[in-house]
């Protein structure tokens, strides 16, 4: 645990930032296919998802509810439910294929190399233990194969935990340490969740719908603070969100996901100035604007994963639908430099 300092001072990760483009990506998900064995049948939820995150990069995975974003995140951490099956694909983290690793090895990676900040602070904290108890346990036993049920007092670890609470801007760390989650406000609990995720000093953070359960103003505040923390520590982040505004605020690159597939990938600024995929266009049109229009929704619903559309999964809802969209699945290909789209409107996506 020594060697890395948890401070507000920049500099602890400068090495990573410098040669970013020359290095291998920190996380590379390649053609992930995940099926769910449901009572009603086999749900082909994730249908070939690929994404990469480089060191120090913040990436947003944007899509409506039910598109499979959370499932992708859980798959990366190896926390899928028992009825889920990873059929094919690779999840490469720091050069290792996580699918090939046994559970014990995965447990050592979780928390220490990559960590998740959960969505609902009301349910992600264990209600019958104090904040301090949970922090200390994570600090003491993260990655261990067994742990005693009673912890011995450790002043240094305690200081570390308190520092972490300070880092996430909790006003009175000492008293918060002794409190139960129910005694804290939603915003406080969210900060505790962030603290828990950062405790192991991971290289990659996955933030699942951060702040959606909170007041909008508090959500903004926390996102800002997290962005600052991420910047100073040089962390990589995968933001999962259905909210484009959030994506714009925090990410360098955006992946748009629909129906268990990636529809479009682009740097954030480029994505907002011009969208390639009809779905992305629809998403942006749906945002109410201050200037007056209330925004138009996209007709239709998410696909039925048990009986999905045969080729392009967005075709049934697409205003630009063509014959080939029901025959051939569009490839996620570079239609312009630095941008990818999976749509037959762009020749690169259609196989000859």
């Amino acid at each position: 645990m020594a060697g890395r300092q948890l401070t507000d001072q920049p500099g602890s990760r400068e090495r990573g930032n410098a040669g970013t483009r020359c290095q291998e990506p920190l996380l590379s998900v390649e053609d992930l296919v995940i099926h769910f064995h449901l009572y009603e049948g086999l749900a082909r939820v994730i249908n070939g998802v690929s994404l990469t995150i480089r060191r120090g990069e913040s990436v947003a995975l944007v899509g409506e509810t039910g598109c499979g974003k959370s499932i992708t995140a859980k798959a990366i951490l190896g926390l899928l439910p028992p009825n889920a099956e990873i059929v094919s694909g690779r999840i490469v983290f720091a050069g290792r294929d996580l699918r090939r690793l046994p559970e014990e090895a995965l447990q050592k990676i979780r928390g220490r190399k990559m960590a998740m900040i959960f969505q609902d602070p009301g349910t992600a904290l264990n209600p019958v233990f104090t904040v301090g108890d949970q922090l200390m346990d994570v600090a003491s036993w993260q990655g261990a194969s067994r742990a005693p049920l009673v912890r011995r007092h450790n002043g240094e670890l305690r200081r570390r935990c308190l520092d972490m609470l300070r880092l996430v801007r909790i006003p009175d760390p000492e008293s918060t340490f002794r409190r139960y989650p129910i005694e804290l406000s939603g915003g406080m609990r969210q900060r505790v969740l962030i603290a828990l995720a950062l405790l192991g000093e991971p290289d990659l953070l996955i933030a699942d719908e951060l702040g959606t359960a909170l007041d909008v103003s508090i959500q903004d505040q926390i996102l800002e603070e997290l962005r600052e923390l991420v910047r100073t520590q040089g962390l990589s982040v995968l933001y999962i969100t259905h909210n484009l505004g959030v994506a714009r605020l925090v990410s360098d690159r955006i992946y748009v996901m629909y129906g268990g597939e990636i529809a479009e990938v682009a740097p954030t600024a480029a994505m907002f100035s011009r969208q390639l995929h009809p779905y992305s266009q629809g998403l942006l049109a749906a945002i109410p604007r201050l200037s007056g229009s209330i925004g138009e929704g996209i007709e239709g619903r998410i696909p039925d994963y048990i009986d999905p559309p045969p080729a392009c999964r967005f075709a049934p809802r697409c205003p630009f639908r063509m014959a080939i969209c029901d025959q051939q699945r569009p490839l996620l290909a570079a239609s312009e430099p630095g941008r990818l789209a999976a749509c037959h409107l762009y020749p690169a996506s259609t196989r000859r």
Partner: protein
């Protein structure tokens, strides 16, 4: 509502309930065919002697007056006189109650100590071998007639194998502090007395515990399965915490608190079944005393036993409520 207020209301609630119970039992016992006085005195007693005793016992006065007299006495700790044992019922209670307390407490302990680990095992290995075995064990445990099991155990372990004593509670330890033989023998630092008392306690306590054990096992299993689905369980795994810590510390606490309230309810069934088990093993406890009182229509005895059992049951439930509030902070801060 504040937790303390809730507890206060619960405690106060016990009083009218016990009050109502005493009225109920009193009315039921007095409004009967059959004459306990005549039974006590025997067939040779003259009408005069019967009348005299009846007047002495106050049985010739109107029902309400009888009840008020009884209540006044009970509040002072005087539960009347038993025509059967020829002693004050209060004294009888003090003599017999500790045995039942010991029996039911040990039975409850067995249920928890054996039931909880088995429940966890069934949950962690859901739908596999241990889970199916636990389900069968639970089904059998709930359906077994307690007195039949007691008899079978007696037959097998006491008569055939001569491992354990057949009936009774065994000799009392040299010191009498609580009336609980296990405790008293430890206080007297006599391990041999402890061991002897334990041997006498083993079969009755086990026979009594079986139903509750099955229940605890299934409840813990269900509780743990539900806990494993929760967000904070997933979060704990995502931080890299070791599985034994997650299961035995974080999930178990929640699952157990949910079981607590039902444990309180189970204690009532433990008390009820004590009547049968004590009869089989001639265990000198309150229930055994109660059954005798019933047979000989010793109504003071019956009433007193009923009220004591009602009070014990109510106190145990109150205790579990308090424990629940202590363990689960959400209740306290509502």
């Amino acid at each position: 509502m504040n937790f303390r207020t809730y507890l206060l209301r619960r405690t106060l609630h016990i009083i009218p309930v016990l009050f109502g119970l005493s009225i109920l039992i009193f009315v039921v016992s007095r409004v009967i065919p059959g004459d306990p006085v005549r039974l006590a005195l025997g067939l040779e007693a003259t009408g005069e002697q019967v009348e005299q005793l009846r007047r002495q016992m106050g049985l010739d006065r109107p029902l309400v007056a009888q009840y008020l007299a009884y209540f006044a006495g009970a509040v002072r700790g005087d539960f009347g006189y038993s025509l059967r044992t020829h002693r004050n019922v209060a004294q009888d209670l003090l003599d017999f109650f500790p045995a039942t307390l010991e029996l039911t407490s040990v039975a409850m302990l067995i249920s928890v100590v054996v039931g909880v680990p088995l429940g966890i095992l069934a949950a962690v290995r859901k739908d596999q071998g241990p889970d199916h075995v636990s389900r069968i064990v639970a089904l059998i445990g709930v359906a077994l007639p307690r007195f039949w099991l007691a008899i079978l155990l007696q037959l097998a372990l006491a008569y055939q194998l001569r491992l354990l004593p057949t009936i009774g509670r065994g000799p009392a330890p040299p010191v009498h502090v609580t009336g609980l033989f296990l405790v008293d023998s430890l206080v007297a630092l006599r391990l041999d007395a402890f061991w002897t008392s334990l041997k006498y306690l083993a079969m009755p306590a086990f026979a009594l515990s079986v139903g509750t054990l099955a229940q605890v096992m299934r409840l813990i299993r269900a509780g743990m399965i539900e806990e494993m689905r929760r967000d904070y369980a997933l979060a704990a795994r995502s931080y890299g915490l070791p599985p034994n810590l997650i299961i035995y510390k974080y999930l178990l606490k929640n699952a157990f608190t949910a079981t607590l309230t039902i444990l309180g309810l189970s204690y009532g069934f433990l008390l009820g079944n004590a009547f049968l088990v004590e009869a089989v093993f001639a265990w000198p406890g309150l229930a055994f005393y109660g059954v005798d009182a019933l047979r000989y229509k010793d109504f003071n005895g019956v009433i007193a036993v009923t009220i004591v059992i009602g009070a014990a049951y109510a106190l145990v439930n109150l205790a579990t409520d308090i424990l629940y509030g202590y363990v689960d902070p959400r209740v306290r801060y509502e």
